[in-house]
């Protein structure tokens, strides 16, 4: 079976019913989607399937053959952060980082679909994502900032050292 992940076609050998989450993490070693509750209730495993946020833990891999799968690695890199990654850094929206990648890909879809800075709409769009650090205010701040088109000078806010971990812990 072939999967297209972050624009790259990959061959996978996992059984067809394996959740996409485990194929990404265990077989393809793409570890930004997190194995949280593994029953659709936390949002940490969310990836984009053809641009739409999907729970990778609930998605049999065979059902996304031929689809474009995007994880946070496909949105930006350590050298060139995506606007949402910059905003999460600028607004200190990532604490432990476990929910961050799911939040970012869901927020990416929200903004791509024309979502604005209205806090209630952002909360509605991200309503399935749980942050156990309870950093919701800053997460919504960050998403609203990108929806508004803010730009960020990270030399003022980000730690000057290692930026490679922005967008989620391994």
């Amino acid at each position: 079976m072939n999967l297209t992940v972050n624009g790259v076609e990959r061959e996978v050998e996992s059984a067809p019913l394996t959740p996409l989450l485990f194929v990404l993490r265990d077989e393809l070693e793409i570890e930004s989607p997190k194995a949280g509750c593994q029953q659709g209730g936390c949002g940490a495993c969310t990836v984009l399937v053809d641009g739409e946020p999907r729970r990778s833990c609930l998605t049999p891999v065979v059902t996304v053959e031929g689809s474009q799968i995007t994880t946070v690695e496909g949105l930006g890199s350590a050298e060139s952060l995506a606007p949402l990654q910059e905003a999460f850094t600028h607004h200190y929206a990532a604490q432990c980082g476990f929910c961050t990648t799911g939040m970012i890909v869901a927020a990416h879809a929200y903004i791509e679909h024309g979502g604005g800075e209205d806090r209630e709409q952002i909360q509605h769009a991200l309503g399935g994502h749980v942050c156990r650090c309870t950093g919701y205010v800053k997460i919504v701040d960050a998403i609203a900032a990108v929806a508004r088109g803010d730009s960020f000078d990270l030399t003022l806010t980000a730690p000057s050292h290692d930026m490679t971990n922005v967008g989620g812990a391994k």
Binding site: P16, L17, Q39, T46, R54, C57, P60, V62, T63, G128
Partner: protein, 262 residues
Amino acid sequence: MTAAPEVLLPASADEAVSLFGDGTSVTVVGGGTIVMPEITYGRLTPTKALLLHRAGLDGVSRSGSTVTVGATTTVAALVGEAAPLGPCAANVADLEIRAQGTVGGNLCAGEGPEAPRGDLQGALLALGATVRSAGAGGITTEPLEEFLPKRSSRLVLDVSFEEPAAGAFAALDRPHAHTYTALAVSAVRTKEGAVRLAATGVGWWGTRLPSAEALAGDHEAAGKAALNDVNLHDDALASAWYRERTLPVLVRRALAQLEEAS
């Protein structure tokens, strides 16, 4: 993980019906929102898994005043429908799960480990929906009420209903998007003027409320009468005590909404 199940990938509705056969040893996977966690946590080890994503069973179609909803239509696709179906669909989980979970799965959902599932059952019962399904004895069409007790052995193909004159939906609030609704009431006024009421959260699947329907003109009396139609239980979401006190309230609210909408 145990031996990988045999995976069946029908490319048409006919093929899905034939692969399902009489349903013996077949686990149907629609959107996966219920089945996949069962597999991940080892509560379910399918021998054969029938995946419906290419079976062409999705979509809402209209013919005159009849609405037909394909089995793999997502819950999200129903959010724009008139009450009670639209508001009921909007009250299911969060928008990402709604975009994945299907109508067929919602109708066939077995009871969860903590609470009943299948919120759409209430709205579709109030709409007087009929279900077309496959399994032993071939393809049958029957009222949803008759279908629900046998849902675990059938493959849903589609569900149909007549557009009502008016509809209403009243539910207890959920503490979080991922909590099932403890109690909800759907109400419909048909084009012929009859009132139909149904509830979810009052048993292990959706239940019509005929005693309340008979008294629909008197909201207070209808609310009380609804208690005659249900067999309330305790679960992780609410106690029978609490349900007994809130069911009459929701019936009154749904009937008031219905009156406003008529």
